[in-house]
């Protein structure tokens, strides 16, 4: 089984990419896409933690 830290690390990397996109881009659509990446990173963290904790609250 893939350890928990991998998913949290992937989520952090995705969130960092999204933050970098929001801060460094000028195009409003691309900034929205970066916000989508950040939302998905948090989603991934929710689902991974929900699996670890054995509850479906995260989903």
């Amino acid at each position: 089984m893939v350890p928990m830290s991998c998913f949290v690390g992937l989520s952090a990397v995705l969130f960092a990419i999204g933050v970098a996109g929001v801060l460094l881009r000028r195009n409003i659509i691309v900034i929205f896409m970066s916000i989508e990446i950040m939302l998905n990173a948090v989603n991934l963290a929710f689902v991974a933690l929900g699996r670890r904790l054995g509850s479906m609250d995260g989903q």
């Binding site: 960092a16 801060l23 659509i29 689902v47 479906m56």
Partner: protein, 167 residues
């Protein structure tokens, strides 16, 4: 280094979202995974594509100027937010069941009950947030400069050719 064409950015984002959907399915969150693939990669990305085509966005010439150190520091702080919050919740709440939620793949009756009764507060808060987003989008879309139209009307009334000044 970075992609300048917005359509290329969008296609890369579609690949990323589909990968995240596969990871969701691998994490036994089949419902969320399929919703991710259908709603995000299917609907929202097509919406973005149409917006890009409608606005006729061109490639960016250069990145946003200034405050690079401040941006780097704030980005680092934000990037440490997710793992710290995750580790906080993972260590704080005890593990209820060691086998994971492998037996509850699809949304069953309990999950629906959770979503519509026990978590109805968060559901309503989300709907209020969406309502605020709709109102904000309409307000942004209806933004018309009123004095400029008045000046154009007076110019048209006086017989002068209407000039478009910096619209």
């Amino acid at each position: 280094m970075a992609q300048r064409n917005p359509v290329h950015c969008l296609l890369a984002l579609v690949v990323t979202l589909l990968t995240i959907a596969v990871i969701f399915i691998g994490l036994d969150a089949v419902t969320v995974g399929f919703l991710q693939a259908i709603v995000y990669a299917g609907a929202i990305m097509v919406l973005f594509l149409f917006v890009i085509w409608l606005l006729n966005l061109q490639a960016e010439l250069r990145s946003a100027p200034g405050y690079l150190a401040l941006k780097a520091i704030s980005g680092l702080l934000c990037a440490t937010l997710v793992p710290s919050c995750s580790c906080f919740w993972a260590t704080r709440r005890p593990r209820r069941r060691s086998g994971g939620c492998a037996g509850r793949l699809w949304i069953d009756r309990d999950a629906r009950h959770d979503a519509f009764f026990r978590l109805s507060g968060a559901f309503e808060i989300t709907s209020v947030l969406l309502l605020a987003a709709i109102v904000g989008a309409i307000a942004l879309a209806r933004r018309t400069p009123a004095p400029q139209t008045a000046a154009a009307q007076t110019a048209a009334a006086s017989g002068a050719p209407a000039r478009s000044e910096g619209t």
